[in-house]
Amino acid sequence: MILNTDGLKPIYIQVAEWIESEILNDNLKKDEKVYSQYKLADMYNINPATAAKGLTKLADEGILYDKRGLGKFVSTDAKQMIMDKRKNQTLKQLVNDLITEACNLEMSEKEILQMVRNAWKGETNESH
Amino acid sequence: MILVLFIPILLMTAVVLMFTFNPGKKKRAGLQGKAGLWMLYGYTFILLLSAAAYLLLPMEGVTSASEAEANHGEEQFPYFYDIFHTGNIEELPDEWVVKQWTLNFDRDELVLEAPENDINVVNIFVEKTSDLEGTIEATFYQTPVSVNGHSVEKQYHPSIQVQEGTLEIYPSNIVQLRYRMFQTEFPFEQFTGDKDQRWGQSVTGSDSALYIKVPEHIQVRSSPNTFNMVTP
């Protein structure tokens, strides 16, 4: 994932989210050691402190846990926690933005729901 | 004043230093890198070579000027000329004899001529003696000529000729002498040698005389005061 340097989202959050997606697509399994802050800094050409901030954020949320002196490891139900978080936080935010945009374009509720249904059909055909 | 004397040297050194120094950011083509060091090593090598060569140079050690003055000086023989006047030339050391002539002369009258004697003044003495018969003896004496104690290789003496009753004394060509004097540098002498005489140089041996012995009966004539008659 390329860091979006001029976006609104701070770098350390983007790094955290990248680790979450790594966990989601099972590149990082339960109780596996996560990249150290230095490895992350090296990979993303950022300051190790920023990388560390991302890791601590995930640790605070319980997605990662600390082993004294060894680094950070993926907690057992990390995957589930990320899914819930993404549902009621990121997804919710996206929906709100969708609604705001719809109102700007003076669309009725029916029209917007129809668009969602079509998008859902397009998505479901592909994924089966 | 020493300073004034050395201003040109100071300037020249400054120029050279500016030329070789390059402290700032100025670009200086060519004279870069270790040139300086190589020059030093090369130069020192040459110096050592020349020091060795110097030791092999055929040189004659001479004493310093003041010492030379002492032992060759005229003071030893202040009355050089009196001896001639009195005729007892035996007292003179043999090495003072530069040249001796014996000339046949059977006339009763001798004319003595010394042309151009004003330039190279040769003191001429004549002694009438009974133990000569038909010949004239002339001897040229000179106190040893030395340069800073080094006695010269070639010595001067006038030329003498006898022609029909006249004895001609005329100067021969000048003895040309060239010397190089190597002086040791002042640091070597500062604490030992008598430094004050360093630049002094002395050439000794200014007295010379031509002593002519003629048979008793010969009448000697010449233009006024060309010679002195010896009265033993």
């Binding site: - | 004493t63 290789e153 190597f182 002086q183 640091p187």
Partner: protein, 251 residues
Amino acid sequence: MWTMSLTEVQTVDVVKKQIGYKWRAYTGVFMSLVIIQLLGVLFSLNGSGSGGYGRTGYDIMVQYFSGDIIIVFTIFWGFLTALLFTTRAYREDDFSFITNRTSSTISTILFLFVISVIGGFTSLLSGYLLKVLTYILFPEGKTLLISNPEGPGVWIMGLVSVVLIIFMFSSIGYLAGMMIQWNKLFLILLPVLLFGSMTWLAQSGVMVGEYFYQFYFQEKNFILYVMKTIVSTTGLYTFAAFISNHLEVKK
């Protein structure tokens, strides 16, 4: 994981490194030394004095050759080199690497001593070069020699005395340079003061130049000479070091 270690450092080690650094960096010094001395030899080639004598029948020409001028040139070279070493560019060279003012000054002074030794040694040897050259270039005529230094002892004493006098003049140059760095006015003030006072004193009979010459160059007692030069050199260098400690660098 490598931990960054702070290093305690001794002035002595830094000074040693700085002397090596200056030896490699300031090769211009040796270039100017060689050029100066070659010029000195050139100057001395036409003889440092000659005498002609016309005795009855003799025309004697004696030409004197001595390496004195080369030594004098080298002394001035020491003076100027030291003076140039106080310029900002040189001081800043030290500050490209590890230094403080004390180590920079000490290493400069020790370096000046090293080059004084080299200057002294080569200047004495150059006398031989001069004489060999004269022998080769003007072959005619006999070579006479006045009192070679009797033994190695005398030679060593001569070497020590030349080195000390060069080192002393370098301390004069270094102090003059430091005063100029301290305040540019000295650039004019120093020469004016020096020559002014000398001429003024000369009127009232005190010949400073003569006295200075006699005090050092005609001191016959070696020990006394060594003491005189060393004391003056230390005095001058301490004063210069004192000034340099207060100079800022890279304004």
